[in-house]
Amino acid sequence: MPSSEYLLEVQGLRQYFASGRGKNRLVVKAVDDISFGVKPAETFGLVGESGCGKTTTGRTIIRLCDPTAGRVFFDGREVSGRMTNDLRKYLTDNIAMIFQDPIESLNPRMTIEEIVGEGLKVRGLKDKAEIRRRVVEMLVKVGLNEEHATRYPHEFSGGQRQRIGIARAVIVKPKMIIADEPVSALDVSIQAQVINLLNDLKEELGLTILFIAHDLSVVKYFSNRIGVMYYGRLVEVAKGDDLYKNPLHPYTRALLSAIPQPNPLTERTRQRVDYVPDRDHDYSTEQPTMVEVEPEHFVLCSPSELLEYRRRIAQNV
């Protein structure tokens, strides 16, 4: 059953991709039994290296792919079941998505007005002038202007394109936004601009955000809670502060050690640690499960690791 605490709740979600037949059959477990929840009006950061299944998770939640197993609830309603027109409408009205690639994510044959206004049109708004007015209003909100409405995507820079993508997602007034690495393809100088914009819109419209990123440095600043993914599994979920203070899973530690530090004194002494599953865990006799080691801090660990993690938290507090 869904918990009333969460706006979006994912329970035991699996997404397997199969290719080939018979002997050549190959199953990629892109997402393998993950569970987490996103609370209303919070930003949940989903972090992990490329290819660990973050995009697949986001796309499965919004039903661009059908899940292999597991359930997803949004606002108490199950959205992982059989697809009906009603469910599709419910999903598309409530969750919008921002994509990773600033070039690929805008149709090169449509003007900005058509791109941003499409969500309104689909929802039955026919009045051209009204669509225009709302599109321009939205464009201004993301730092563009009326003149840009008649342009084609190739005339814009990467940061501008991402802001257009944000406008397209937000104009339909969703409750939640899944942002799939929205700044990974941008220059560092532009990244802050886009993230701040997203944050402002979140405050203004009370959005809930599932923010996907491949390193912790980006999510660190504005995620309330963070989930760390490794090879299709969620290995640690915690409040942002807890995760920085007490990173428990060795993979989280590895990710944290990869963040450059702004202070030159500590940056000089920063040690990178790497994560080698076979060395860091002994799962020959015990299987790992997701355990809540302290309030709202979940780690994937075996019973003996759990003891070790508990001890570490006790020392640190």
Binding site: L106, N107, G143, N145, R151, E155, Q160, R168
Partner: protein
């Protein structure tokens, strides 16, 4: 100058007045300096730069205009027969003075006595007699005969000559061009429409739908083409409709495969996914989001298919499955001309030249079109 730790100290102790808060609320971009330019306008600008393609384009336009108005240039219609004036050579008013298309024919191996007999050849019609020789004791000559005065029709001009029923070949050639072009256009348009819709559905839905639909095309493509055509003509008789139909039976399969491949290429693009997450219905995704991005290859294919259809129509006519007499098409003219190729080569020459020019022009035009519609070349000089 500074030791390492001095510098760290300095950085840490920078006064706050050194820093300025950059206000992100002021995020507002200015207008773009360029003028907006649509896809087709851009393609057109680039097409104009390609001289060869421009030339073929105007060549096609010229031939199309001719096919519309040329049949009215003289007083003959394409059916009008002149039983007295069969197989006349070409005769064109101004050029005849220069010795080209002057309505003459060279008769070889004629008895000298016959040529000189005024009852058989009026003296005015024999322009030149040469190559005197004796064969088997008979005096034999070659002679240049003015066919128009020989047939006593000095005021008649068949610009491209006349055929075995004395019909004006100029009128028939351009009438035939008109018919051939019409057949080709209609056949290609139906092919493109059927192929696009079929390929779009197959490519968009993929999976089992796609597999079934592709198997059907493979079966269709496997049936011998000529058998299908003959069945059609048996069923519907000869005529424009059945020829267009015959050209369509298998013609759309190539388009369907092309469109299907395009859909496989584009349906996973992020902008298509983005539209899906907004709730855009399948029909809009297919026709508004994916199809416009494949329009370049489709147009190019259509242009390449036109000369192919013209040629196929000619081929059908050539093997006797063409339009019903007396209607001409380029294929029918070629087929008629080929029967008397050695005696009256001009009857084959004009349609052959025309169909060649037409096919080359369409191919060059299509090449230029493909280059200018290629979105990856967009913005290049």
């Amino acid at each position: 100058m500074f030791g390492r730790y001095d510098m760290d100290e300095q950085i840490r102790n920078l006064p706050d007045s050194y820093f300025e808060l950059v206000d992100q609320d002021q995020l507002a971009d200015g207008a773009l300096p360029t003028t907006p330019i649509g896809f087709f306008k851009d393609a057109f600008l680039r097409f104009k730069k390609n001289k060869v393609s421009m030339f073929s384009f105007w060549m096609i336009v010229f031939i199309i205009i001719l096919s519309v108005i040329a049949p009215f240039f003289n007083r003959y219609s394409y059916v009008q027969q002149h039983t007295q004036l069969r197989d006349m050579p070409p005769r064109i008013p101004v050029l005849e003075k220069l010795g080209i298309a002057d309505g003459t024919r060279v008769l070889t191996n004629r008895r000298k006595a016959n040529i000189e007999n005024p009852d058989l050849f009026p003296p005015a019609s024999v322009l030149e007699v040469f190559n005197h020789r004796v064969v088997n004791g008979v005096e034999v000559v070659d002679a240049v005969i003015d066919m128009y005065s020989y047939r006593n029709a000095k005021d008649v001009y068949f610009w491209f000559g006349s055929d075995y029923l004395g019909r004006d070949l100029f009128t028939r050639l351009f009438w035939g061009t008109r018919m051939s072009l019409l057949i080709a256009f209609f056949a290609v348009i139906t092919n493109i429409i059927i192929g696009t819709v079929y390929g779009a559905i197959s490519g968009y839905y993929g999976g089992t739908t796609d597999m079934l639909m592709m198997r059907i095309t493979e079966i269709l493509a496997g049936i011998p083409y000529l058998v299908v055509v003959m069945l059609f003509i048996l069923l519907f008789g000869t005529g424009m409709f059945s020829i267009i139909f015959a050209l369509t039976v298998t013609g759309w399969i190539g388009t369907a495969r092309l469109v299907r491949a395009q859909f496989y290429r584009f349906k996973g693009r992020e902008y298509v996914l983005a539209a899906r997450t907004l709730g855009v219905p399948d029909r809009t995704l297919i026709f508004r989001h994916i199809l416009p991005n494949s329009v370049g290859p489709i147009i190019t294919r259509a242009m390449i298919a036109i000369p192919g259809a013209i040629f196929s129509e000619s081929f059908l006519a050539f093997i006797g499955l063409g339009l019903q007499a007396p209607r001409p098409s380029i294929g029918i003219l070629l087929s008629d001309g080929q029967k008397v190729l050695l005696q009256y080569p001009y009857q084959t020459l004009f349609p052959a030249v025309l169909i060649s020019v037409l096919m080359i022009s369409f191919n060059l035009f299509a090449n230029g079109l493909r280059d200018s519609l290629d979105p990856t070349k967009r913005g290049e000089e």
